[in-house]
Amino acid sequence: MSRTLVIVLLISPLFGFLINGLFGKFLKGNEKLSGGIGALAVLVSFICAIVAFAGVQGGAVLEGESGVLYEWIAGEGFTFNIGFHVDALTTVMLLVITGVGFLIHVYSIGYMHGDAGYTRYFAYLNLFVFAMLVLVLGNNYLMMFVGWEGVGLCSYLLIGFWYEKQSATDAGKKAFIVNRIGDFGFLLGMFTLFAAFGSLDFAAIFGAAEANDFQQVFGGITLVIATLLLFVGAVGKSAQIPLYVWLPDAMEGPTPVSALIHAATMVTAGVYMIARSAVLYELAHTGEVVAWIGVLTAFFAATIAITQNDIKRILAYSTVSQLGYMFVGVGVGAYASGIFHLMTHAFFKGLMFLAAGSVMHAMANELDMRKMGGLKAKMPITHWTFFIGAFAMAGPFLSGFWSKDEILHSAWGSNPAIYVIGLITAFLTAFYMFRLIFVTFYGQSRVESDVAAHLHESPPVMWVPLAILAIPSAIIGLLLGWGGHDSAFHHFTDNVFKAAKEIGSGGHGEASGSMVLFMIISGIVGLVGIGAAWMRYSKRTPSAQPGTALHKLVANKYYIDEIYTAVFVQPIKNVSHYLLWRIVDTGIIDGIVNGVAGAIRIVGGTLRRLQTGVVQAYIVSMVVGIVIFLAYYLFML
């Protein structure tokens, strides 16, 4: 666990970015080279991450003084460092980011083939990895925020990657701005923490918070306010209610980007942040808010996912929904389970996105699953990998099952209502995922004939990453999750959450009831969902027009976007344009200024008449003045 290792790990993608970004012009036309550089940069990081992972076995930590690289912003009474904190939690994130990241880089080499912005794409992707690494490596909230905003930027750039498309740039802008709203909360949360603790270092804050040794800037509810503000940031970044609206639109970006940023890594940053701040959330008792927002989002997004026909959008809503599960996990105090789900989700959702990309690649970028069907025969690898991903998320035995079940189990211990909603969502999840599978890969082919002609399996550079990702998606849950709260994963991360566990013990109530019972219930619910989807969709296509009013409401995503536009966007635009600019600025303020000028002109115009041009008239007035002044001076003083 040396600092050099961490620096290499961090800097490698930055180099990749600089090479592709600055010298991209000279790499033009050599796709292999720029793609190779991009992938290699992340591979180096991945290897470093494995070394780091090995180094933190048994609870070793790189942090504090030893991790400080340099003083960033410092002055009288405040010091913010660029420094690292590497523990078990960090290495899990590192492995996910660099591991999944590397595979997606490799996949992109094939997927982006022939695109005009090839080098630009890899530059952005490397920059994203760099920012994401900053986010998880930082030993203080400010550094986390740097990465936080950095990944937001990359997300913006990559969503709007095909900038000639209006919808893509709109989506990018929307993502950035909605994220900014969240960041606004994060920023204020940091200020509250700084005001309370005089520092933003994790170690200092958590230590002082446990010892109850800090400034109560908002009275007894300082930590409540701080954690809720930070949670606003998480809501924005991890697309929870009410700021989830950007994520479905973000599917305008290239599909590998959706896989990496909008499924596997960036959107889980909020979960990571809360897990990292576990001590604070335990002390402030705000976990319940987090859990409720999470479970509601999970349910809400799942309902929307049922009605969508665009495969990437379904995956997007399923991501929102799964993120909700993760928030339930960290909200109810099952931090390790939440992070475990984060990890399994990264594998199976990344896998599904890449598989969806593979479908798009074959289908000439068609996304509407009503125009697919029966793809199984033409694209067996894609089908099987997709199937594994979907089953990992919805059904029993594969990775997602283990992590989700741990969360639900903990939720029951915390609040049965959350558990029930979570279970219903699990049913919905199974239903919409397999609706997607059956409509896309089974049944009659509805592919248009000209597309059908060159329907083909993707090249190895694309399907190999799929196959590799399918392995952890299938087995990692069993490997690391066996034993529920006593599993290997829990042991590995034990040290990180020990402090929070101690504070929280009793608060959440130990999960009661047998784990096995819960697993059986979840398994059955999942299978029922799959069965329902089979009944409904294995033979039939989803209807083109929504039927009932409720269906229509859900299919239109509850009109949330329209409501936001009508309530926030348009009024602000109109007020700014008509009231502030036209009336206040041009009318009132400039009116006063020009009015003063006009008044002076009128007075001057009147006084002008006095200037007859006859010199003697001037002299007369001058002499009158002299006489009066002299008289005053001589006789009055």
Binding site: V146, L153, L580
Partner: protein
């Protein structure tokens, strides 16, 4: 002598150009560029020779000037003015290079105005004598008047007059203030430093504070004194806009930190609620109005109103981080808004339009331009890793931490961060993205000269963002002086009520209470 050399070397350039006017355009440009670069290089001596450990004025010079009036030629710099001096000497050669081919008439006059302006601005930042300060303050108006009035756009006369009259209205008040200080300064004439050490404040301190503050607020410009700015920017030639945004506006905020705060700390504390309200209104108002501007230059101009609101907010925090952030943000705004105006100027030269609707898809035809524009935009909206973030973060942190005013202001000000993203990215999208039409598709990308103009600015944008320590280091002590003054003497004037702060009164079990309770239950 180093400081005097830096201040007056550009004036020497003016004389040289005046004498050699007949030598042709390239000679004039060469002289101007040479002088500007030389000034910058010499001014680097100020940076290397600066002692960050002292609060004294450095490189100080003191000579009798007009003994009958009690005015002296006293100059010197501290950690605050150092950066503004360097910003000025840095931006001037950049501007000259940017204007290389764009001046069609009166090239020698243009270059002379630019160099004379540099002397005026440097003088303002170095003067340690009130009278000298005023002379520089006013003298810098003249070249600016010519720059906008001769080389400006269609409504340049209206804009120039508005600019000059607005400023003069403030200057008149400031002159009264300077005279009032003179009469309270005993035998020290117009010297500034003895005023700092004066104990017991001044008579009519509140009025004097206002006299100075309004003059500076107009220059900043603080809402609602800002309406000259959009007009001046729109009509000014590119270089004029750059200097205006980059340096001239900083003279207002510099004045606040040099005069208003240390001289009248109590009055400053008294008026803090009012001023901070105006600053926050300016932040939000500027951002909202910027959002709906159809003209690129106007958009950037209103964004300046928003950004300078942040600076003023920072300066009135009575907090190290806040004031340091405010000073740093002056530099940052100079760099990023300066760069934005340069970029707008470059695209205007190609397209002869500044209307956003005329653009679209420019990223396709001008990828390098789009990249630089993107970096500048991000710097302007305060993305971490670039300069704007460091300043904004420190300002907001300081405001939140200081307790000089309610935290509600900070929350409102922080919304400016969101709005900045809205208007800048929306503008960027409309200009850069989409499919270019025939005219826009034919625009040539940046040439080597234009890159040479922009790259140094980009370098500093990244540098301050990644490693601001050299900057913060050198201003720390000087800011400390201001903070001590403001805190000590302002303490009695504080004591506002704040509904957020009153949350103390609400009874709430603390975390440890809960823990104890649980332990008790378990037992």
């Amino acid at each position: 002598m180093l400081l005097s050399t830096v201040i007056f070397l550009p004036l020497l350039g003016v004389v040289a150009i005046a004498l050699l006017r007949g030598m042709g355009a390239s000679a004039i440009k060469g002289i101007a560029m040479g002088v500007a670069v030389l000034t910058f290089l010499i001014s680097l001596g100020l940076y290397t020779g600066f002692d960050a450990t002292t609060t004294e004025m450095q490189f100080a010079e003191s000579r009798a000037w007009i003994p009958q009036l009690g005015t002296r030629y006293d100059i010197g710099i501290d950690g605050i003015s150092l950066w503004l001096v360097l910003l000025t000497t840095f931006l001037t050669p950049v501007c000259i290079l940017a204007a290389w081919n764009s001046v069609e008439k009166g090239l020698s006059g243009f270059m002379m105005s630019l160099l004379a302006l540099e002397t005026g601005m440097l003088g303002v930042f170095c003067a340690m004598d009130l009278f000298l300060f005023f002379v520089f303050w006013e003298s810098m108006l003249i070249p600016m008047y010519f720059l906008i009035g001769i080389w400006g756009g269609e409504r340049r006369v209206y804009a120039t007059i508005k600019f000059v009259l607005y400023t003069m209205a403030g200057s008149a008040l400031m002159l009264v203030g300077i005279l009032a200080l003179y009469f309270q300064n005993g035998d020290n004439g117009f010297a500034l430093l003895p005023l700092y050490e004066r104990v017991g404040g001044f008579t009519h301190a509140n009025l004097l504070f206002m006299a100075f503050f309004i003059a500076f607020a107009i220059k900043v410009p603080l809402f609602p004194f800002h309406t000259w700015l959009p007009d001046a920017h729109v009509e000014a030639p590119t270089v004029g806009s750059v200097i205006l945004a980059g340096v001239l506006l900083k003279m207002g905020t510099y004045g606040i930190v040099r005069f208003c705060l240390p001289l009248f700390p109590e009055a400053a504390a008294t008026y803090t609620p009012l001023i901070v309200t105006l600053a926050v209104v300016g932040i939000i108002y500027g951002a909202l109005v910027a959002m709906v501007q159809p003209d690129l230059k106007k958009l950037v101009a209103y964004s300046s109103v928003s950004h300078l609101g942040f600076v003023v907010l920072g300066l009135f925090t009575q907090h190290h981080a806040g004031i340091q952030g405010g000073v740093l943000q002056m530099i940052n705004h100079g760099l990023s808004t300066g760069a934005l105006f340069l970029l707008v100027g470059m695209i205007y030269e190609r397209r002869h339009s500044r209307m956003i609707v005329d653009f679209g898809g420019v990223a396709k035809s001008m990828p390098i331009f789009a990249t630089v524009f993107m970096i500048t935009t991000l710097s302007s909206i305060g993305l971490p890793g670039l300069n704007g973030f460091v300043g904004e973060f420190m300002i907001l942190l300081g405001s939140f931490h200081s307790g000089a005013f309610s935290k509600v202001y900070v929350v409102l000000a922080a919304t400016g961060v969101i709005l900045a993203a809205v208007y800048m990215l929306w503008m960027f999208q409309r200009v850069m993205f989409g499919t270019p039409d025939k005219t826009n598709a034919a625009l040539p990308d940046l040439n080597a000269r234009e890159l040479a103009v922009l790259l140094p600015v980009m370098l500093f944008i990244v540098w301050i963002g990644v490693y601001p320590k050299p900057f913060l280091n050198r201003m720390e002590k000087s800011v400390g002086v201001v903070v001590t003054k403001v805190r000590q003497e302002a303490a009695p004037a504080m004591g506002h009520t704040d509904f957020l702060d009153n949350l103390d009164d609400i009874e709430r079990p603390t975390a440890t209470d809960v823990q104890h309770q649980k332990e008790a239950e378990r037992k």
